[in-house]
Symmetry: C2
Subunit: 363 residues, 2 copies
């Protein structure tokens, strides 16, 4: 591979960013818009960065059609810190929240609530199926402050395609791996959070969409940076935010709006990419999808080779062919192609071509 050549990157996260975004970042790296400095060297209170963070916020608002009843917050860390902040902010002393367990990320979210001694009720789990599907029946409590779900499960490659009927209880969702990949029915959610490093930018920041009325539930006297209220009141600038990752988010959301044409268009492309790939998997016995077909993820396509002993060869030959990051999560093995927004249709076609060639050589 030549030094200036980019691979097709199927990494589960951190993951591919649009090449045109990377080029814009590169061009401006030493001197952003004539400022004589990089975005990462400038005061977060200066005009340049204030414009950048406002653009990131506004574009996210516009992409999801968020009105003024919603806050868009940039919080330090990733989803894992959100696992702790959600119960800290939203499970009161005598309350018990509903959690739906659909994979290791939701298990971790549940664990963080329990560490704090908060009330947790498992309303459904697919653990008995090795998390290869999304549950269909739920044991919701009547007075739960929220129902927590993980909208997409990177490890097993499952995704919620229909939201559960919570009878009015707001959903709080970890949307790290499918945020901004499709339109969503916002009316069902109280809070949506997502680490940036799959569909939005570099790691180190989480985007939180929060319905303003949720702010009233937050107790006083939380550590300042662990209260969503701080981020809302200070427009995510109580302290120095993760300026460069937020800059990247502003560029990625610009690309989503201006190049890809918004979430409807992006969703159509994502559906097309996933369908081509699942069709290739389902073509015959050589490849086998691992998630239940009804719940297959459009973001993380997981499969095995019927002859599993060929999988290491598949991964290493793919890498030689310029297809990177295809090894499955260490806890389950197999193959995983993460095809987030920035994975192009060309990349998916290249993968399908490789799969065909590999099959022809090894069947």
């Amino acid at each position: 591979m030549k030094i200036d050549q980019r691979v097709h990157n199927f990494s589960a996260g951190p993951s591919a960013l649009p090449t045109e975004v990377m080029r814009e970042m590169q061009e401006n790296l030493l001197n952003f818009q004539g400022s004589g400095m990089s975005v990462m060297e400038m005061s977060h209170r200066g005009d340049h960065f204030m414009t950048i963070i406002e653009e990131a916020r506004t574009r996210i608002r516009r992409l999801y059609g968020l009105d003024e009843t919603w806050e868009v917050l940039f919080v330090h860390g990733g989803a894992s810190l959100q696992f702790a902040m959600v119960p800290m902010n939203f499970i009161g002393q005598d309350q018990c929240a509903d959690y739906i367990e659909t994979g290791i990320w939701s298990t971790k979210a549940i664990k963080e609530a329990r560490i704090q001694g908060k009330g947790v009720h498992i309303a459904a789990t697919s653990e008995q199926d090795g998390f290869t599907q999304i549950p269909e029946t739920f044991d919701f409590q009547e007075d739960a402050p929220f129902v927590h779900i993980t909208t997409n499960n990177t490890v097993r490659g499952t995704q919620w395609h229909n939201l559960p009927d919570t009878n009015g209880t707001p959903l709080i969702a970890d949307m790290s791996s499918d945020i901004l990949s499709r339109p969503i029915d916002l009316s069902r959610f109280g809070v949506i959070y997502a680490g940036a490093q799959k569909n939005m930018g570099p790691s180190g920041v989480a985007v939180v969409l929060l319905r303003k009325e949720m702010l009233d539930r937050i107790p006083e006297n939380l550590p300042t940076l662990l209260s969503y209220r701080t981020y809302a009141e200070k427009e995510s600038m109580f302290n120095t935010p993760a300026t460069f990752p937020i800059y990247a988010i502003s560029l990625v959301t610009k690309w989503l709006e201006e190049t890809m044409g918004g979430l409807d268009m992006m969703a159509a492309i994502n559906a097309r990419k996933a369908k081509s790939l699942y069709d290739a998997i389902d073509a015959d016995w050589f490849y086998e999808g691992t998630a239940h077909a009804k719940d297959r993820s459009l973001m993380n396509v997981t499969f095995r080779l019927a002859r599993q002993e060929l999988e290491p060869l598949f991964v290493s030959e793919a890498l030689k062919a310029g297809l990177s990051g295809l090894k499955g999560h260490k806890s389950v093995g197999g193959i995983r192609a993460s095809i987030y927004n920035a994975a192009s249709e060309e990349a998916v076609e290249a993968l399908i071509d490789f799969m065909d060639h590999f099959k022809n050589r090894h069947r």
Copy 2:
């Protein structure tokens, strides 16, 4: 200013990074070492990033001469989250920690301990002097778990030049604005923390140096990402770390070792830069330093114009001359030149030249 020209950046943070570091980052932005992707697009568990984080850790260890009794951790967020984590981890239920108050950052650290209902004793404060000096007498408790100090105060431009005698109680220090600027007597410290965005890299990550024996004091059942033990046990990789900022830290520490020649050399350069600038301020009545001379910071040089009404003109003309970020902190006004490691001697000379010319035109 031409589009490819960089200003002399005196911003208090985020702040200047070495131009050669920025160039290396730029060259590799789309394709890091033949990987075909940016550092910000690659798995944190892959060989490339594992090498990067290990290099950042090792270089910090070597620069400070840290032996195996110390941990080097990369924690999400900046110093403000550390203000909360320190008491959470290190003030036990019946304990009371000593804090020395030397400016708004130490005041914020104290506030975060109190929010959690932790015992806090103010062992000294310079509030009565508007934080323009470092206290010299201390009312230490005998059994405090630690003494907290802020080694450098960006707003008022003061810095600890001699550590207080704590009679064996370990110091915990916020070293955000002078980390890696000079050698330190490590034997006095239990924990040192610093947001990256002044002397090390972009915002979004804090570096924590922690004496291993401090780990034994940490209570069980803290939220996972708020316990230093998690970062120690998982080598700062419990979840996705802020990969790109850590990459920048690896390059800045490489520059510190290989270009600047280590902390002794860096400290000598920093002392020279500060002396030139303070000499220019002290030359006559036109400029006036605002911190007590004995406690002047080598990192943030704060001063006023005797004719304060000229200060806005000073800042705007400086900017036209390619000298950026000289406006004092909004809470105190005046002029502040932040001359962290990456502010070159050439930049400081350019500032002194400008100050001379400005004085000649306006005296």
